[in-house]
């Protein structure tokens, strides 16, 4: 029987497949939506740079058939800043995890958003440190079990879309891995947007987060996403909660504001003219 090529094969480094992700992990869905977005926009893959940090989704840069860089933990946005400013013609995309972007890398996120740097940031939020075996992080919901919260998590979790909005992102959306069409559309929007755009993807980690919190299969985790999700476009991101019973998804911010790249270009032109 003839083997059919995968429709998004050209977006992947075939010699890197199979990937290292666990069965049922949401990362593959995110990568698939990203590939679909690139495909639908007919983006020149020679001009795309995928930058990731450390963690499970951090390996994504090794799988995309573009220029790619796997940075130190927490630093993909800072690295991407150098790439984007040194060659503004490149489409620089950061894809990383919640621990990487918001715990160790939180400072870089808030400042890139404030600067309105021209990059989309896609965050796989699985509520946990998967690569190191299941420790709690800055997005772990209250009362959940992780290997470092054996008596239940007593820390409040970040609301990532609220944080992005407060820091000045021109686009902020949240979807779950169940909302693949919405997610793809959001990635397309982010890729075309001038300035800093942010997409949070609530993603399942059945092997660790699910296993220890009574959702031991991908199906059960996605059932949670299905039952709890409610689309509330342009509702107050401060109220966009993620609880066992309610996950608020949608687009929360979509505004226009001069990007860092534009202001830099204009400033340089002014300076050269004056001289």
């Amino acid at each position: 029987m003839e083997e059919l090529p995968h429709p998004y094969e050209k977006f992947l480094r075939k010699d890197r497949i199979p990937h290292i992700w666990c069965e049922g992990c949401g990362n593959g869905i995110i990568l698939n939506c990203f590939a679909r977005a690139l495909d639908e926009l007919s983006v020149d893959l020679n001009k795309v740079v995928v930058v990731s940090g450390i963690g499970c989704i951090g390996r994504v840069s090794g799988y995309t058939n573009t220029d790619s860089f796997h940075t130190t933990h927490g630093r993909p946005i800072a690295f991407a800043t150098g790439v984007k400013l040194a060659n503004p013609e490149l489409k620089v995309v950061v894809i990383s995890g919640d621990g990487d972007l918001f715990a160790i890398g939180g400072n870089h996120f808030i400042h890139a958003a404030r600067r309105n740097l021209d990059i989309p940031v896609i965050c796989a939020n699985n509520f946990i440190y998967g690569m190191t075996g299941g420790q709690s992080g800055s997005t772990t919901p209250l009362d959940t079990w992780t290997t470092t919260t054996p008596y239940g998590n007593i820390e409040q979790a970040f609301n990532l879309v609220h944080l992005a909005a407060a820091c000045g992102a021109v686009y902020a959306a949240r979807w779950t891995t169940l909302h693949t069409c919405w997610l793809t559309e959001s990635i397309k929007k982010a890729l075309q947007k001038e300035g800093f755009s942010f997409i949070e993807v609530v993603s399942q980690c059945p092997e660790i987060f699910g296993r220890y919190n009574k959702m031991e299969t991908s199906l059960k985790m996605m059932q949670w996403f299905k039952d709890a999700s409610e689309v509330q476009h342009f509702s107050d991101p401060a109220k966009a909660e993620i609880t066992p019973h309610h996950i608020v998804v949608g687009e929360f911010v979509d505004i226009e504001k001069p990007s860092y790249g534009r202001l830099l270009r204009e400033m340089k032109a002014r300076v050269v003219e004056k001289k």
Binding site: G62, F69, V83
Partner: protein, 390 residues
């Protein structure tokens, strides 16, 4: 890169000029082609950033003040990966924060320059006072095994010249290169002769000699152990990672062979080229009976002491390592075989002196420590020279 064309004369400010070491450093970087600076304010290196913020936009470059030194170093690596010569400048506390991504630059073989205008440490220490306390940190500060290049300017002229050289070494060996200055050299104003554009030696990294393909190996070295460097956006679609990787750039996290092969090459590309990299200044050493080994600002007082000693009939000489790392072990060993003793003045509690002792073997080494505001006085070094002769 969207570059704005400007006359070359606006880039290189040739001629005799009067400026501070920090500004000379920035001018040197611009002259050799640096077009990207990412940094964070810190005394006594801030003037480098300020000068770059003013000058880079004039010549089509980019200056950005990042949120911290961790981010600065990451952005520098990013800029270098799109083919732009990039640098940062800092002092002790910032140098500590940069160590993480200096390791990344080593592992991903990123040409870039890091200037550390050293002040008093540890911790916040003495921000406005000179020090030479970071020379071992420069050598060993990031985790893992590696070789590094560090240059030590001892004048404002050398802040210009050695910044040029640092970029050329970085581009030649695909490594981060340190300029280890100190507060005095950074803030001191002296006359500098900036060469004509044509007479400035400029080295650019090797580019791949093969067209993009699915088999492209971005970390496959040439004979000199240095891989040509592809640029993001040129169609090679290659991958780089801080993980141990193979020549394709792909992670090899469980292979002893891959780890040995990569880490040894990263060390060997420097070790096997030490003769080309190392530069020392030998002054009155031919017949010397006492040698002083000094670098940076301490070498200025040392030179004065050596001259004073000669004036009183003592055969003293000065060995000044311009390259601190790799350490000029062989050069020190040769001198050690000929002299009675070696005097090492340093503005720390004893760092390079350990290297000198190792190279000097049986020859006795006298260490002169200095901490705080004032550098060594020539007479203090002279007293030590006289002590040997007694």
């Amino acid at each position: 890169m969207t570059t704005i064309s400007v006359e070359k004369s606006r880039v290189v400010r040739s001629g005799r000029r009067f400026m501070s070491g920090d500004i000379a450093c920035a001018e040197g970087a611009l002259a050799v082609g640096c077009r990207f600076f990412a940094g964070y304010p810190i005394t006594p290196a801030t003037e480098i950033a300020e000068h770059m913020a003013r000058r880079l936009p004039e010549i089509g470059g980019v200056y950005i003040q990042m949120e911290d030194e961790i981010a600065s170093m990451a952005a520098v690596i990013g800029a270098s990966y799109v083919g732009v010569k990039a640098m940062t400048a800092t002092s002790g506390p910032g140098f500590s924060l940069m160590m993480e991504n200096i390791g990344l630059a080593l592992m991903t073989e990123t040409p870039c320059v890091i200037v550390n205008v050293m002040r008093g440490g540890p911790s916040t220490g003495q921000p406005t006072m000179p020090g030479q306390q970071d020379v071992m940190q420069a050598r060993w500060g990031s985790h893992g095994d590696y070789e590094i290049i560090a240059l030590a300017p001892s004048s404002v002229q050398e802040m210009f010249d050695l910044t040029v050289e640092a970029f050329n070494l970085a581009e030649t060996y695909r490594v981060p290169v340190f300029v280890l200055a100190d507060e005095i050299v950074g803030h001191m104003w002296e006359r500098v002769t900036i060469p004509e554009t044509e007479s400035i030696k400029i080295v650019n990294r090797k580019k791949p000699r093969v067209p993009p393909s699915n088999e492209f190996a971005p970390f496959k070295p040439d004979q000199d152990l240095v891989p040509p460097m592809a640029v993001f956006g040129d169609g090679y679609r290659f991958h780089a990672t801080g993980l141990t990787h193979d020549e394709r750039g792909y992670p090899r996290t469980e292979s002893a062979e891959a780890q040995t092969r990569l880490v040894q090459r990263l060390c060997n590309k420097i070790r096997k080229n030490v003769e080309k990299i190392i530069r020392v200044e030998n002054i009155m050493l031919e017949d010397a009976e006492v040698a002083v080994v000094a670098y940076g600002i301490a070498a200025r007082a040392a030179l004065s002491a050596v001259r004073k000693a000669r004036a009183t009939g003592i055969k003293a000489g000065l060995l000044r390592p311009v390259t601190l790392w790799p350490f000029p072990e062989e050069q020190v060993a040769q001198v050690a075989r000929r002299v009675k003793a070696i005097v090492v003045p340093e503005m720390n509690c004893g760092q390079i002196v350990r290297e000198v002792e190792r190279a000097a073997k049986e020859t006795s080494v006298i260490f002169l420590s200095k901490l705080g505001e004032e550098p060594h006085k020539p007479d203090e070094i002279l007293d030590a020279i006289r002590g040997v002769e007694k």
